[in-house]
Symmetry: C2
Subunit: 656 residues, 2 copies
């Protein structure tokens, strides 16, 4: 794809972007402020810029007069880069000149979630989906050739596809006679390569799990599921090509019974509670699955297999296994291995033949979602010392490499997923996901997912907003608002002091979308839990932040993370940005890879054997560290020298 240079004036900042990039997004990425409070949806009309030269695809909107359009005015959120450009930010939305010299964000601070594509699997010779479909054509029985239907099939598989050592599912045997005749002895069989056994023996055996009349080989779909405490994601995969066909997410319906795993465990212990919890999660998944199949016009019978990853409690609730002992000392999960399970027996609305492979847990608080993320990020196969963190309701931390891994969990709360936040929401259309602030006017520049009118704020939006407000001095290091500022956006609301991100008439919800001090407290507690976790775990294995070769961030809080801002609030340690990778939803990625690669699926047991779990709550330092982290960025100023220098510089410039 072509890339072009966009030169912003009067800032005199140039950024290289891909063809078709939205101009407002390009400005955000370049650290060039353009007022924009409708999230990029085109309704506020504040993001007017002047095209001084080059190719920009941008029709005139109702908010720009024909005369202004002729003079070069464009709405940045309705403009897309088609060539090298010179763009001027007009005076009414331009930064005070003093601010232009402040520290620019690093272009590499913005990290889109990296998908490990099927190309990489192919190049590694690991694209070997565990479920394949084969077409088998047989001669019909005749006198002198009246072997059993099953023998006919087994013989044909051997001669036509060189398949041996089959185990046949009884439910397949039951339907053989009808399917054979319906398909005129032309049938599609689904073969499953067995996953490794508990102790890791070789996967030499094959199960015949389904048979369909006629040729269905083109329609071989897998479903990957991330079962989060707050959010659930379902992804439809084409197992023939490895392509992601669709992804859908929704809140976990169990949320009505409590936001954290503890409340779910308690509810699960009540009369009928376990069944109820299982019904709610399978209901959430079924709903998403139905939606995806409808959207993609896929026959659900062509779904061949599923994989699911979730934390230990979510996994046990999905499987209908009482998670009681996860909560009681000494915190024992039921299993760290699950055989393939007939999905329908769990209540999942798929064909009878579909098995679900569920990622096993390391411990009660380091679950299959982390194992899946480690699988996706390959920590267990590389020599670099890696810190893997998953920012969810429960924050999980893994440190290690190809030789060993230490892991722990900490209770971060739901802030990273938009929970416990007044206008918090998942990273779906209309969620404020990025934020910048005009240092002079304190007016925001916000971008929403899908550039739709704002509906709320997601995890990444929360991090970026708090970081932006803190950098400009709108928030102090305790997360409290400066109260003497000359802006209507900082005000005392019903929940205390707050910042108005969008005015009611610019939103989808018809109410002012605000960020409150309570919201900020939640974020600070969440990031504190995480940071204290890294610190404790590293110390426990005799290492410190300096030893890290790289950091991998996973989490369902948005499509991307701004690493500088995450460091700015003290969520990430102060590291070189190029040591950091953001993989987005690691759990879903791992679940997807296990659908596409039998080789990777078998490596799960390898991961488990290398991982050692630590209980942070049993390390006395942890609580002490946690308390120290309840500041922006941290009480121990030496941990964040760069951040402090930058804040000082920025504030000094804008407050002159």
């Amino acid at each position: 794809m072509n890339t072009y240079k966009v030169h912003f004036l009067p800032d005199d900042v140039t950024i290289e972007v891909e063809e078709g990039t939205n101009l407002l997004q390009a400005a955000m990425q370049a650290g060039v402020h353009i007022n924009a409070s409708c999230g990029g949806s085109g309704v506020c009309g504040k993001c007017r810029v002047i095209l001084e030269g080059g190719e920009l695809e941008s029709a005139r909107t109702d908010l720009i007069s024909p005369k202004d359009y002729e003079e070069g005015y464009r709405q940045a959120c309705k403009a897309w880069v088609r060539g090298d450009l010179h763009i001027r930010i007009p005076i009414e939305s331009q930064l005070d000149a003093r601010a232009l010299t402040r520290a620019r964000p690093s272009p590499s601070a913005h990290r889109m979630a990296e998908e490990i594509g099927v190309e990489r699997l192919i190049s590694e010779e690991k694209f070997d989906p565990p479920y394949v479909k084969l077409l088998v054509k047989m001669a019909p029985p005749a006198p002198g050739d009246n072997i059993s239907d099953l023998t006919r099939l087994v013989n044909a598989l051997r001669s036509q596809h060189d398949v041996h050592n089959l185990e046949i599912d009884f439910k397949v045997i039951k339907i053989l006679p009808q399917v054979f005749r319906e398909g005129h002895f032309e049938v599609t069989v689904t073969l499953a390569y067995r996953p490794s056994h508990l102790n890791g023996t070789n996967p030499s055996d094959i199960d015949l799990t389904d048979i369909q009349a006629g040729d269905h080989t083109k329609a071989n779909y897998g479903v990957a599921v991330d079962v989060g405490t707050t959010s659930v994601y379902v992804q439809l995969l084409d197992l023939n090509t490895g392509e992601i066909l669709d992804t859908a997410g929704d809140l976990n319906r169990q949320l009505s019974y409590g936001e954290d795993v503890i409340s779910r465990i308690i509810f699960g212990g009540k009369e009928g509670g376990l069944q109820k919890m299982q019904d709610l999660i399978t209901g959430t998944i079924n709903n998403l699955l139905e939606k995806i199949c409808r959207r993609k016009k896929i026959d659900p019978d062509d779904i061949t297999m599923m994989t699911a990853a979730g934390n230990t409690t979510m996994t046990q609730l999905l499987l209908g296994i009482d998670p009681k002992y996860i909560r009681l000392a000494p915190y024992v999960p039921t299993a760290n291995y699950y055989p393939p399970i007939r999905a329908r027996n769990l209540g999942l609305a798929v064909g009878e033949h579909v098995r679900i492979n569920v990622f096993p847990a390391v411990s009660s608080y380091v679950g299959g979602d982390i194992v899946a993320g480690i699988l996706a990020s390959r920590v267990y196969q590389e020599p670099e010392l890696t810190l893997y963190i998953d920012l969810g309701t429960n924050g999980e931390i893994v440190v290690g490499n190809q030789d060993w891994m230490a892991c722990a969990a900490c209770s971060a709360g739901p802030a990273f997923e938009g929970g416990g936040v007044k206008f918090g929401m998942r990273a779906t259309d209309g969620a404020i996901e990025d934020f910048a602030i005009n240092p002079q006017t304190l007016e925001p520049m916000i971008l929403t997912v899908g550039m739709k009118k704002p509906k709320g704020i997601c995890g990444s939006g929360l991090i970026n907003t708090v970081a932006g407000l803190f950098e400009m001095g709108v928030l102090d290091e305790r997360g409290r608002f400066e109260q003497g500022l000359d802006t209507p956006r900082v005000r005392e609301g019903e929940d205390g002091w707050e910042y108005v991100l969008s005015w009611a008439d610019e939103t989808q919800i018809g109410r002012d979308i605000v960020l409150t001090e309570v919201d900020i407290d939640n974020l600070i507690r969440a990031k504190a839990a995480m940071y204290a976790g890294y610190q404790t775990l590293l110390e426990n294995v005799g290492l410190s932040m300096h030893n890290l070769d790289r950091v991998i961030i996973a989490g369902g809080f948005g499509r991307y993370i701004n690493l500088e801002k995450a460091i700015l609030i003290g969520l990430l340690p102060e590291l070189d940005l190029d040591k950091c990778t953001f993989i987005g939803n690691g759990s879903l990625q791992g679940a997807r890879l296990a659908c596409l690669s039998n080789t990777l699926r078998l490596e799960v047991m390898d991961i488990l054997s290398k991982m050692t779990s630590f209980e942070l709550s049993e390390v006395p330092n942890y609580m002490e560290y946690y308390v120290s982290c309840q500041f922006l960025p941290h009480t121990t100023r030496e941990f964040f020298p760069g951040v402090l220098e930058r804040i000082q510089q920025t504030r000094s410039l804008v407050r002159k």
Copy 2:
């Protein structure tokens, strides 16, 4: 066990019997006639004998006066051998002296069904039940030892029992937490050694199928089932010792929908018919199982596994697989392999963990019952050319040895199982199972199963009665009664001419128990179908009766067979008696052995690979042979020279 000599006078016949043998049975076996028409139940009082010396356990009965008792009179059916004996048959129940010299039956003609005992399995090193129970004692979780329950179990199995490569059933994982705590971390696990796969790979893997709190290792039970078209037998086995704990049989409840497999197939094809057929057969099995468990005071949860053998149609109906194509040319069964199936899914009332191993079929009309019989009789492992026959509603024939086996089926009708016979019944208490006739008075000597008052006649009783009547000339070679005989027992009844086996007041049913010409016709047709079958099959592989090294007879018609009588009516070819073995219910025996021996279970695929099925109906000679067989013993007199000589001799002696 001690054996003793019983010397009968005035016949001057001596027989050696085991200690405790019933005296009436000893006489029957010796060919010494004692009138007895109540089956040995003690009510008719006709079997008075005089003890002339030796030890006989026999209390005085109401039918013997104290004076007579003092003089040595005893009731033979209420007397048991305790030492060498001299017994005189008093004049009122003694044979005419002329008859005493008639050909004696060979002592080896009487063949009790041979059970292949666990001792033989042990000596062959084949006593290796596929399901074992192990006690596992674990330390409870503690801080620093909070591995998952499953890991704890797997580790303990490895260290305490050297068990590796486990696959764990998901339903076991689900109940781990409760069972562990209920048993205070002392649990009993059931391990299943996996049967060979379809293509016969090695059975190296182990499934953990059940877990129980506390020590249940002593209670490890298997259930073998013979699913016959007419009768169903269920046998309870102690898998620790190999012992048969109990056996129970009943009519197949499907009988109300037709006596033969064809009518069952037709009914199965109707709306809801397949489910109905499955429910009826599982209902039959469940009822027997419940009865046995109650009788033996066994907790059904301690049943670990089941095996079942039946003909192809019965097997498919048990499994709920439409047997439609078994009946339609070219007669295709659905499968000749079945994986272990969760028994409860079929409707069997056992624990959720119980799998049923079902014997596979060779073809549509040579089913798993025959495979089981071949397994039990070891035809497939020995060099002798063997004719294996199963006398059931469908008669099956196998010829072969360790190198090859040819098999075929013929429709014998239900006569061998007591079906289609006016007073026919299964070989249970009160069934007339043996018969002899006083050549002079034509009075019968009958023995019933359990020596209870007669209720009806079973397969072996039918063969022995027809043979006895034919030998004495009461029946002619077409199976018609001589009508001018001086006995009230041969008379014209409502169904034509008949012989009265028991008068109403000697029976349990309060009606005369008779054998009619219609009954005899059914038996003749049944034996004709069988004999024509052997003839055709042997000819097809270029052999004849002379080439046979041995004959193995299986069938559910009674505890034993009288081989001489079976030859006499032309059911068996005229062979040396010592070439013949009777194994009783071969299907049940095979099912039992598969419960006790994983090695034997794995040999099933070996049997299948050696067997070739022939369709008798496609061989033109078969019908011709069948017609020739519809005489006693056979139209072709050269086939039975010995029988004809014996009949001539007997008749000439008794009719002087």
